[in-house]
Amino acid sequence: MDPVVIALAKAAGLDKALAEFPDDVAAAAAQALNNAGAVRVPTDPVVEPWPPMRAGIGL
């Protein structure tokens, strides 16, 4: 397995999953890369996340 994936999995506390289900961990890492790569993040710095922070609403 890619040593970077192993390092990231350990950093996420997935030692047990790495030992017992290495194929699932590797598949998940590949999936995450594919999904994140499909998002065209706005280049305009002022574009804010949705849903926005709205003080005083919903609590």
């Binding site: 997935l14 047990k16 017992e20 289900f21 699932d24 994140a36 499909a38």
Partner: protein, 464 residues
């Protein structure tokens, strides 16, 4: 009077009023049918026959005494097993929560009980509403009543299978990436993902906070509106709940579609994910039917399904990881493989991935809102394929992601899937209608016009 197990909620209410049927008689008949059919369908994780009969006796007495609680009084409903019903297990179809007994009713269950509905039990789901269909879980996966060798869709699998099979007329499901509308599509019934925030999620095990919805599955559009009326409403205990007074979701059902402007999102099924020919042909027919009924139907363009799906996945995996991380670290073997594989990607998403997806999300919402300024309702595909065989996991995996439902989880607009035909192999195909925020009534209006014009809801699965 039609066979009791095929009666709609509206027909049931009329039969009660005419004293042709009582809740005890109906629940007795449905329990007998469940006993006969559910071993083949696995719609239930936990049938609560005793609780249902107690509620039926109470409803029978109240109705006989003239104390009606409204159109759902004495009407049975099935509940997806991630929604809490006090005293019953909420397992999420998972070994992780197999011993978890709900202490209180979810808000939607409180509302259903207040309306006099009868809870029949807890229904099969994909594990934690994401991992399925799976054969490595404590309970078997639900099966499709049109052909039990086929998948009933998911994740609200038991809700779709049970409604379509006539085990109960109404069910609740949840929808984070299409999980109400997928079983509705696969099982040939009506499934609505309401506007985000219209229905409380308090007491529902979360999958992804900003994408999760609770929604009704029914055999008719009118029943869908009735069930939505019962469960909608502001809940100050749900941070995503909207402070809206939107009600009366069935008030437009008889108005038809004359002069409504409908945007047909053809590129979803023609270019983005080319649909099975029978699905595509049925969609063209939907457009023709609505035009014949007086609607103006024009082709419109939205961002691609690839982009909507990517954003949905990044947000879903990131939010789900924050929920499941402790169990994935300590008990990875207690998940089925599908759920484990679908939840673990969140461990590899960065903060930048998540915030970037939420930033792009706002832009996609703005684009859909632009289209909905010019059109009352959008028409598009739901599933691109008829349901796959249960014993072909590769085919299930291939077809499961070939869908056009996630756009409306990303945007939060109301979206409804319903039957649009049967394939030559006898499996349902479907169409999806989406509308403006809190205008769920117009989505239901278009669906009702299509239902009246075609009568697909009268087709029943060949299951007895």
């Amino acid at each position: 009077m039609s066979a009791t197990h095929w009666m709609s909620a509206s027909q049931i209410a009329q039969a009660y009023a005419a004293k042709e049927l009582s809740p005890v008689e109906l629940v007795t008949a449905l329990l007998e049918r469940i006993g006969k059919l559910d071993p083949k369908l696995n719609a239930f994780i936990r049938l609560d026959a005793e609780g249902a009969m107690r509620a039926a006796e109470q409803a029978t007495a109240e109705i006989a005494a003239g104390q009606s609680r409204g159109p759902l009084h004495g009407v049975p409903v099935g509940i997806k097993d991630i929604i809490d019903v006090a005293g019953l297990p909420t397992t999420g179809h998972s070994k992780i929560l197999v011993d978890n007994i709900a202490k209180a009713d979810a808000v939607v269950i409180q509302k259903l009980r207040a309306a006099g509905a009868i809870v029949m039990g807890k229904l099969s789901t994909h594990e934690f509403a994401i991992g399925g269909p799976s054969f490595d879980l404590p309970f078997p996966p639900a099966r499709n009543p049109w052909n039990p060798d086929h998948h009933p869709g998911g994740s609200s699998s038991g809700s779709g299978a049970g409604v379509a099979a006539g085990l109960f007329p109404l069910a609740l499901g949840t929808d984070t990436g299409g999980s109400v509308r997928n079983p509705a599509s696969a099982c040939g019934i009506v499934g609505l993902k309401p506007t985000y925030g219209l229905v409380s999620r308090r007491g529902v095990f979360p999958l992804s906070f900003t994408l999760d919805h609770v929604g009704p599955l029914t055999r008719t559009v009118a029943d869908n509106a009735l069930l939505l009326d019962a469960i909608a409403g502001h809940d100050p205990g749900d941070p995503g709940s909207a402070a809206t007074q939107a009600r009366g979701f069935g008030r437009l059902l008889d108005r038809g579609v004359r002069d409504l402007r409908i945007g047909f999102v053809r590129h979803f099924h023609e270019r983005d994910l080319p649909a099975h020919p029978e699905v595509a042909a049925a969609l063209e027919n939907v457009a023709r039917v609505l035009q014949a009924e007086g609607a103006q139907v024009h082709t419109v363009t939205l961002p691609t399904l690839t982009e909507f799906a990517g954003i949905n996945r990044v947000i879903l995996c990131s939010e789900a990881w924050s929920i499941h991380a402790p169990w994935l670290r300590e008990r990875p073997g207690d998940y089925g493989q599908l759920a484990r594989r679908r939840l673990l990607p969140g461990a590899f998403m960065t903060a930048g991935d998540y915030v970037g997806a939420q930033r792009r999300r706002g832009e996609l919402i703005a684009e859909v809102e632009d289209r909905l300024r010019d059109y009352d309702v959008l028409l598009c595909a739901s599933s691109m394929d008829p349901s796959s065989r249960m014993d072909e996991p590769d085919e299930t995996a291939r077809t499961y992601s070939r869908q056009a439902r996630t756009p409306f989880n990303v945007t939060g607009h109301p979206a409804l899937a319903m039957m649009s035909g049967l394939t030559q192999a006898g499996l349902p195909v479907s169409v999806q209608f989406a509308g403006r925020y809190f205008d769920d009534a117009t989505v239901l209006r278009v669906a009702a016009a299509y239902e009246r014009a075609t009568g697909w809801h009268k087709k029943k699965p060949p299951i007895g």
